[in-house]
Symmetry: C2
Subunit: 128 residues, 2 copies
């Protein structure tokens, strides 16, 4: 049995507008991380992604499927369910994602400072 995904896998400000690098749509990168350790069911994904409505989560999953990054499998058994898993193509994207994440982590403070400085200057320019 796979261990369930923790509900607090992503903090509230994830994704953040401060991160300039995006993979797919707004939630795609988080979905991919959820699938890193193997197939997951829709309801499993909803646990860490509780802030995403089912409609939007479905959209994101379909988009990933469309791009060949995720495989969707329907099990029409007594207890019907659906599983999502990374394709080899999807798994290969973990590498550029890791590089991007490393860059973001490494430069997070600079990004934060830059935005604060810019917004402060803009506010001054507005008032003054």
């Amino acid at each position: 049995m796979r261990r369930p995904l923790p509900a607090d896998m992503f903090d509230e400000l994830c994704p953040s507008s401060l991160n300039p690098i995006r993979f797919g749509d707004k939630w795609a990168a988080l979905v991919i991380r959820c699938l890193e350790d193997g197939p997951r069911r829709f309801s499993e994904l909803r646990v860490p992604l509780s802030r995403v409505t089912p409609k939007v989560l479905t959209q994101s999953l379909r988009s990933l499927e469309r791009d060949g990054l995720v495989k969707r499998t329907v099990y029409a058994e007594a207890a019907p369910h659906v599983e999502y898993e990374l394709t080899p193509l999807g798994r290969s994207m973990l590498e550029p994602m890791a590089v991007a994440c490393a860059w973001v982590e490494q430069h997070w403070d600079e990004l934060l400072d830059a935005r604060e400085a810019y917004d402060d200057a803009a506010r001054l320019h507005q008032a003054g």
Copy 2:
């Protein structure tokens, strides 16, 4: 004198919706590539980015400036002009961008095939 940016630096389908990895807004990655070899003026950038309206290009540049990725300098001389250049932070982003670009190039055919297959299946499912 820096050599001017070629008008055909980016082909028509750039950026493409097929590329799942995005840096900043729609045009940011192209702007960054334009600045790779040194400062450029607004009008210089407009040459390869002729499909971008000045308003949107300005938006993109301001956003990059806000994130500390690009520096904007105003020269209020006889012939007033403005130059944009990459900050060290902006230049550091070239590395994850190169990794992402390599991944996209390497997997472009797979992405194309996946989308075609998905859309064909969807169309069949629609008709049938």
